[in-house]
């Protein structure tokens, strides 16, 4: 079942790239990277919402699966944030010939990446898998989320050199973008689901040793 989900996600992504580069091509060639940059940035943010929800869920119920889902979401989110920043830098290099300027959008994307990185490091360095370490990661997940909306979304609403006021007007372009978006979100869901079940099996195996 999970294989199917991932395959479908990749199909959608390939379709979006094909349409985007052929029919829905944006005039200056390098701007086509937006077909990848936008979905990934949305997904990076969505994954952090998942981290928040699962962290709150773990603190409320104490069930281990919430905590594992939080780890999986953080890992997937980290991958998306890395892509987000990489394509962002490539885009700004192509657009303004500079790899990085501290414009609000780039700064907030970098902060999002750092939040993921620190979450994963915290997850690894807290001793043992017992409940207290999981609880502390959940606490960090929640407090870190407070950083994201304060900065990330507010950065959206002010004029900013980062995003030329450009919209995907033609139907082909919007179609390509939507396909890309759907593909990335499906990919995220698949990755999280796969990783959570993997973590659960490893945990079950390791806990057998304790019995």
């Amino acid at each position: 079942m999970r294989r199917l989900l991932l395959a479908l996600a990749f199909l959608l992504l390939i379709a979006s790239t094909l349409i985007g580069l052929t029919r829905g091509q944006i005039d200056p060639l390098q701007r086509n990277i937006l077909y990848v940059h936008v979905p990934n940035s949305v997904c990076a943010l969505l994954c952090f919402v998942v981290v928040l929800v699962t962290s709150v869920g773990y603190l409320a119920t104490g069930k281990q699966t919430w905590d594992l889902a939080a780890t999986a979401a953080a890992e997937a989110g980290f991958v998306f944030a890395t892509i987000l920043n990489a394509t962002g830098m490539i885009f700004s290099r192509a657009e303004w010939n500079v790899w990085w300027t501290p414009s609000p959008r780039l700064v907030t994307s970098a902060i999002l990446w750092f939040l993921y990185a620190v979450y994963l490091i915290l997850r690894v360095s807290l001793p043992g898998a017992q409940r207290r370490a999981a609880r502390l990661c959940a606490v960090f997940g929640i407090v870190a989320f407070l950083d994201v909306p304060l900065v990330y979304i507010s950065a959206r609403f002010i004029p900013d050199i980062h995003r030329p006021n450009f919209s995907f007007d033609s139907t082909w372009q919007t179609a390509a973008l939507m396909l890309g978006m759907a593909g990335t979100i499906l990919l995220a869901a698949g990755l999280i689901w796969l990783r959570t079940s993997l973590l659960r099996d490893t945990l079950k195996l390791e806990q057998e040793l304790l019995r």
Binding site: A129, Q130, R131, Q207, L210, R211
Partner: protein, 243 residues
Amino acid sequence: MAQDEPTSAALSVRAVSKTFVTKPVLRGIDLVVPAGEAVCLCGINGAGKSTLLRVIAGLLRPDSGSIAIQGYEVRREPEKSRRQLGMISHAGMAYPELTVSENLAFAARLYGVPRRAERIEELLAGTGLTSYRYDRAEILSRGLQQRLAIARALLHRPAVLLADEPFTGLDAAATQDVCTIFDRFARDGGTILMTTHDLRLGLQCCRRVAVLDQGVLILDASKDRIDTRRFLDDYLSYARTMS
């Protein structure tokens, strides 16, 4: 006050169980201790004695079951139940940098004890620490630190006193002092739940014995109803035969 148990039960533990990751440490413990009684909880290392004490004190959340001190449920009314509870653990809970009276003054403020100075004097005398009043806690001997811990635990006149291995590391004289303090506390209507390895001392101080084995209470009887001689020889096998 809405209380389901009779107010006479100072401490009532109902079907408490606790599992660490996969190891069940407490499996459905029931223990009711009326006021003025001292219970000695015995068991091998890892039987769950300290865990049970920490769960009763509210420091550890039980997976299921409920604990009430003087009728106040520990998880639902933490402030009221903690006011009725004093605890002595291996660690003395005293700040090494502070002097004996400063430590007691700090604890008195935490618990909001009225007429602090007077109460502290009373406890210093009761535990024989008056002459060490201005010494810093770090230089005290193990016996004196234990007496400071007891003074700190009794400061706010708790109804229930929990003692986790109170006699470890004490010489004969210090142990005797601790025992007399416990007796006086029990005679004044206080309730004691104590864990110990040294059964002879446990029986000397307490009138009731409970044995915990693999997370289950396999024996809970007052001293005069059990054959103390055989019990002292090998309490585990004896307790197992009785359960």
